[in-house]
Amino acid sequence: MPSLNMIQALNSAIDTAMSADPNVLSFGQDTGYFGGVFRVTDGLQGKHGLTRSFDAPIAEAGIVATAIGMAVYGLRPCVEIQFADYIYPGYDQLVSEAAKIRYRSGGEFTTPITVRTPYGGGIYGGQTHSQSPESLFTHIAGLKTVVPSNPYDAKGMLLAAIADDDPVLFFEPKRIYNGPFDGWHDRPVRPWAGHELAEVPEGPYTVPLGQARTMRQGADLTVLAYGTMVWVSLAAAEEAGVDAEVIDLRSLVPLDIDAIVASVKKTGRCVVVHEAPRTSGYGAELSALVQERCFHHLEAPIQRVTGWDTPYPHAQEWDYFPGPKRVAEAMRRAMEG
């Protein structure tokens, strides 16, 4: 099986979906001839033709809106928002329209769109190339929000998202496109090559949306993470010397609540990790759910390790980014608490 990085895996997913279904098409800013600024759609125009993989005007609202119209017609558009930081102009179309069309039409019109977008920090991108806006979508009934953390899941989840009959926000943790960065930014970075989760089957397969993956079994505490933070959390468990159970949520909505509850009931302690600012981040929802469902099992307060409640800085990137030290610190607090 070939070893692919996340970019190649995502490319393979779109290619596979387009090959299997003529109703799948891809567009976005610079995604056509050039293949996208991160090269995720590289080669698709050449292979599938101009009308199936093309460039779009710089109008995120227009991209989402036309994708909705196409989906209403019967297509399955997979569009790219160049950076998640630029998704906000399309927010109204996603929240007021894509999320509600099935409901408000009594199920008659549906919007199976997939909106892919690179998100997260760690690339010295400053405040407009580093944001993690996922929680803003989890609040919206009718939308699904997913985040793969490795090449295998990236392909399988993207194929599941494209096949899904509901609108899916597909957040790609750009910091781990090329390797499972664990937050130790001054150590050499591993590439995906050779990693077992980089073994990506060539053909079609799906990773169902709504199923978490336990990345590390553990007895001491449960870590809930997604995207880059999965790798940071694994590094942190090592750093802290804690026998952590690290759960990669993979899908925020739908959430694998059973996996979470089972783990926390087992460990009695929980740390939630994300890059987005703390206040009203998805960690708040996770914390609320865990305390609602595992209250009598909890031996310590649930800890949140998150980005700060400030915009994302440039020079102080590594003081903002929740790295293994901060996660390890929270693990220790959870063990004491």
Binding site: L25, P57, G62, A65, M70, G74, S96, R104, G107
Partner: protein, 419 residues
């Protein structure tokens, strides 16, 4: 590097700026004044070939395409030469739409529903268009195109069920009254959010072209809502990808209490918006059933011939209040509609048909009575199911259709309600 500019202290005589706030020609108590509305005599606007280059249509953004003259005769190059049957069906649909509006407006006053919006004075636009397009073409309407459903023969009782949010509401009481949805009738689910449907229509049309289909889309937006970013997105994408869509702007002079000048209407025409995108543009008398038909046919042919989108401004007037929540006597002259230079679309088509010898007062009276009776019969049917609050879809349905499949949160919440 030196700065080459003149600092303010060296230009003491610079004029003081002032902020300009546009105002309508009249407010309550004033006489209606439409002198700022550019008009053309019937028959005066040229009709370019359907294959014309967009730029060759741009003069039409400032003219006004009209077919019916003051005497009710059809004149000029845009005369669609419709057969009397088509005209009669159009007139009947307009009469029926007006009767429906009147009835439902009353139903709101009687507490049978929470909300209603009329399209009085604007009936010709939706109805003439619906009669040019096929039911397979998809329309993306606002709340003022109920005429499409009525022209296409959608059951009036079903419309009322929606308005009453009763147990037979096809959209299960989920939306505000008048937010109809019917895939079968080529009527896209109306959104409460202004403008959002406009670029969606472009996407739908792109999909039709992508699939090598022959269906086209038609989208509607009000004068006020043209200010939304979605309007711009729609026109950009329609132009760039040559989408087979008709982009209608219904300029009824008002957006709730705000006159069309606040959307830039006083500075140029709404049709001129199309020029910015290199799209062909038509400005049409929206109260002239024949002109609406002719312009729509022109745009439809362009779209079906792969020549892409057309922008059409329909000049009309919102004769009634914005909605049942509104009271126009607080912000505009009372008798504007009576003095609107383009008149009433029903009266004008009636006069035309009468002039042709294809209609008379008796037929008019019969059509009106028939419309009232149709509405009454539908009302009986819908009210037998129930009006707002008396009857409604089961509470369980509130938890359905959020997603295609099951969602544990919603399941648990439904169980919490015990349904």
């Amino acid at each position: 590097m030196p700065d080459g500019s003149i600092p303010p202290q060296d230009r003491p005589n610079a004029p003081k700026l002032s902020l300009h706030i546009p105002e309508p020609a009249g407010r309550p108590g004033d006489a209606p004044d439409f002198s700022a509305l550019p008009l053309s005599p019937a028959g005066a606007a040229p009709r370019p070939a359907v294959e014309a280059a967009p730029r060759d249509t741009h003069g039409l953004a400032y003219d006004l395409i009209r077919v019916l003259d003051e005497t009710g005769q059809a004149v000029g190059p845009w005369n669609p030469r419709l057969d009397p049957d088509h005209l009669r069906r159009g007139l009947q649909a307009m009469i029926l739409t007006r009767a429906f509006d009147d009835r439902m407006h009353r139903a709101h006053r009687q507490g049978k529903t929470s909300f209603y919006m009329k399209c009085t004075g604007e009936e010709a636009i939706a109805i003439a268009q619906a009669m040019v397009l096929t039911r397979e073409d998809m329309t993306f309407p606002t709340y003022r195109q109920q005429g499409i459903l009525i022209a296409r023969g959608y059951p009036l009782a079903t419309m009322m069920n929606q308005i009453y949010s009763n147990a037979s509401d096809p959209i299960l009481g989920r939306q505000l009254p008048i937010m109809y949805s019917s895939k079968e009738f080529g009527f896209f689910t109306i959104s409460g959010n202004l403008g959002t449907q406009y670029p969606q229509a472009v996407g739908w049309a792109m999909a039709s072209a992508y699939k090598g289909d022959d269906r086209i889309a038609a989208a509607y937006i009000g004068d006020g809502a043209t200010a939304e970013g979605d309007f711009h997105n729609a026109l950009t994408f329609a132009a760039v990808y040559r989408a087979p869509v008709i982009l209608n702007i219904v300029n009824n002079q008002w957006a709730i209490s705000t006159f069309s000048g606040m959307a830039g209407g006083g500075l140029t025409t709404f049709a001129a918006k199309g020029i910015a995108y290199g799209l062909p543009t038509l400005r049409v008398d929206g109260n002239d059933f024949l002109a609406v038909t002719a312009a729509t046919q022109w745009a439809e042919q362009r779209a079906r011939s792969n020549l892409g989108a057309t922008v059409i401004e329909f000049v009309s007037y919102r004769a009634a209040q914005h909605s049942t929540s509104d009271d126009p006597s607080r912000y505009r002259p009372a008798d504007e509609f009576d003095n609107f230079p383009l008149g009433d679309p029903i009266a004008r088509l009636r006069r035309h048909l009468t002039g042709l010898g294809e209609w008379d007062d008796a037929r008019q009276a019969a059509a009106e009575a028939d419309a009232v009776e149709q509405v009454r019969a539908a009302g009986r049917e819908a009210e037998a199911v129930g009006t707002l609050g008396q009857s409604r879809p089961s509470v369980k349905t509130m938890f359905e259709d959020v997603y295609a499949g099951d969602d544990w949160r919603i399941r648990e919440q439904r169980q919490e309600v015990g349904v």
